[in-house]
Subunit: 213 residues, 2 copies
DNA sequence: GTCTATAATAGGATAGAC
DNA sequence: GTCTATCCTATTATAGAC
């Protein structure tokens, strides 16, 4: 991406992706029509089909863009270095920050993880999304393995711990009304984010860290 | 429910609920048509509308039935008694058992928590579902409060801990292909369930339990 | 309680003018 | 790149016969 690209006015393609991201996050793949997307951008339906040849392609483009953003933040955070436990905590902090900066992400991530049956199974789009998910998970799995090998983390099955962590980190920011009712305030409020982050870190420190006795 | 009811052949209403539960879990509210439900039961579309006057009513009936089942299992498990930590662990074990016995539950639960925007907002159905969710969460919150007051659990914000726990307990069994790829095996296989349960209990024991030093 | 028939609308996708 | 017009199918829901 060139420097000029940073200042360039957003293309129609980008605008479509932005609108679609918000809609898919709120109502899922089947709940959103191409007409609604087009209206949101201020284009005709056919123009949207000019940029994305099918709805499935648009959906996976949205997912891949999100996953790429998260992967970039994650590997950047991990590259700073430090002991595995320190990197794990920073990694979780970064993940939470990204999810909070982009309130559509958590919902879309969770949806993409269990809306397999919504999309045409095993299409080429589906594979690209799976690869992008792998790009996010692999660094975290490697970090867990390293921490366990170094004796800093409790030795456990990495994938099983990882799936629990993903659930507890991503779900709160996808929970919407449910979370609002439970906390008595919006999940994305500064104060709620701060407390969720602290609880998450405490849970991980104690729950995944090596037992000291 | 009478004793005779236990042996009675399932009514059309029950059959519709069963089929709809499976379909809604797989493809969500918008992804399922009433025709598909009717075909699955072996009825005409109009017959389904005779039993449920709208799609929204059918969906909330499915959600409420699930939440009632979970609540029943949960309060039954909590009624056995014991120290808060013991009850919390048994409660989590019971929750996992229910989710495993009914593979549609986890997905439908998560969907119902963040498909608020899918359904007509603030309708009477939506309120019934919210009340049913409260019936499941309240006993768990009370348990956490009791454990903290007794000094058995780390003192923390109950709702924030609860939302993390819900995410980590429910998400794995809703994760479908994603979980399958991560674990290298189906999430509902006996072995995977056993290991997930152990990791979840370890995480809770260490992560929520009082620090011993 | 179940059916056929129908209404009224919206869905994804394409053709072709400009 | 965007538009209008169109195709075909599916959608939720209702009316009324049996």
């Amino acid at each position: 991406m060139s420097v000029a690209a940073l200042a360039r006015a957003p293309s129609s393609r980008d605008k479509i992706l932005d609108v679609a991201e918000g809609l898919f996050a709120r109502r899922g793949y089947s709940g959103v029509g191409m007409r609604e997307v087009a209206d949101g951008v201020g284009l005709g339906k056919s123009s949207v089909f000019h940029h994305f040849k099918s709805k499935a392609e648009l959906y996976s483009a949205v997912c891949i863009r999100i996953l790429a953003t998260i992967e970039r933040a994650l590997v950047g955070s991990l590259a700073i270095g430090g002991k595995p436990t320190l990197r794990l905590e920073r990694c979780i902090g970064t993940l939470v920050d990204v999810l909070v900066d982009h309130p559509t992400y958590a919902r879309l991530l969770l949806r993409s993880m269990f809306e397999d049956d919504d999309l045409p199974r095993d299409g080429p789009e589906s594979e690209s999304v799976h690869r992008a998910i792998g790009g996010v998970l692999e660094p975290m799995a490697a970090l867990l393995r390293e921490g366990m090998a170094a004796g800093e983390l409790r030795v456990a099955s990495v994938p099983h711990v990882l799936i629990l962590l993903v659930g507890s980190m991503v779900f709160p920011f996808a929970s919407g009304d449910f979370g609002h009712e439970l906390l008595g305030a919006d999940v994305f409020e500064r104060d709620q984010v701060r407390r969720l982050k602290r609880e998450a870190l405490d849970l991980v420190r104690a729950g995944v860290g090596a037992t000291h006795g």
